[in-house]
Symmetry: C2
Subunit: 140 residues, 2 copies
């Protein structure tokens, strides 16, 4: 494990699934959450809302970029069920629905911050690695 991590008292990540027997039920839940949270659209929507505070349905899609309204709806609903986003329906015509992050959603955004920074930092290295890999294999 990494030893240069100055995070002794807190729950160590190596502790989580190290060799420790977790409740199979809890493990299942955690796994399920990971599966949903570690989702491309979830991350992008999370970021869009974290950035802009409150957005309407269509605007979320615009900020996210290339997303079908089906996935937008589905992901938004999932996030709402998980308590990550708050959905406000204004009963007017035409319909007006606002989405914003809940405090929990914002905290998840903060947790993902490290990942975003990582991507920013390493995208060049990844690109290089991919090229090298393609050459090693594809162009044997």
């Amino acid at each position: 494990m990494q030893q240069d991590v100055p995070v002794p008292p807190i729950y160590e990540w190596s502790n989580r699934a190290g060799g420790k027997p977790l409740d199979p039920q809890l493990d299942g839940l955690v796994r399920d959450i990971i599966g949903k949270v570690a989702d491309k659209w979830t991350m992008l929507i999370l970021e869009a809302l974290n950035d802009h505070g409150t957005l309407r349905f269509t605007d979320v899609g615009r900020k996210v970029g290339e997303i079908s309204q089906k996935m937008l709806t589905k992901t938004l609903r999932q996030m709402e069920a998980d308590g990550l986003v708050h959905r406000t329906v204004h009963p007017v015509i035409p319909p007006h629905v606002d989405y914003s992050l809940t405090p929990m959603g914002r905290s998840l955004g903060g947790a993902f911050c490290g990942v975003w920074l990582w991507v920013e930092e390493h995208h060049a290295a990844i690109e290089a690695s991919r090229k090298a890999f393609a050459q090693r294999n594809g162009a044997a």
Copy 2:
């Protein structure tokens, strides 16, 4: 590895996609990386390797849990191409292949640490939120 990228001080997350015009190409790459990195299996494998240092093919699958051999192979290959894992083939019989994280892979593990902690912290709240949501909707 990573280079002299002109990443000023600390890239603020709200700064990343705030209203700043990024290179569309760079944005596409970042989006692609997010799509791969924010993957259930990638995260799980990353954790397994981060935990155990070096694992053989079959052992990675065992540590990850419920993963098909197809997905294991596929994800491992992708991670290798991206420079996250190092694949060592020992030319013996029977074959022996070791997988371990590269420095970049370990750093990604560190970046995800915050997400793991977040899940540990909030899984109960999520569960509660889901129940409440189900009741608001399903059991109207």
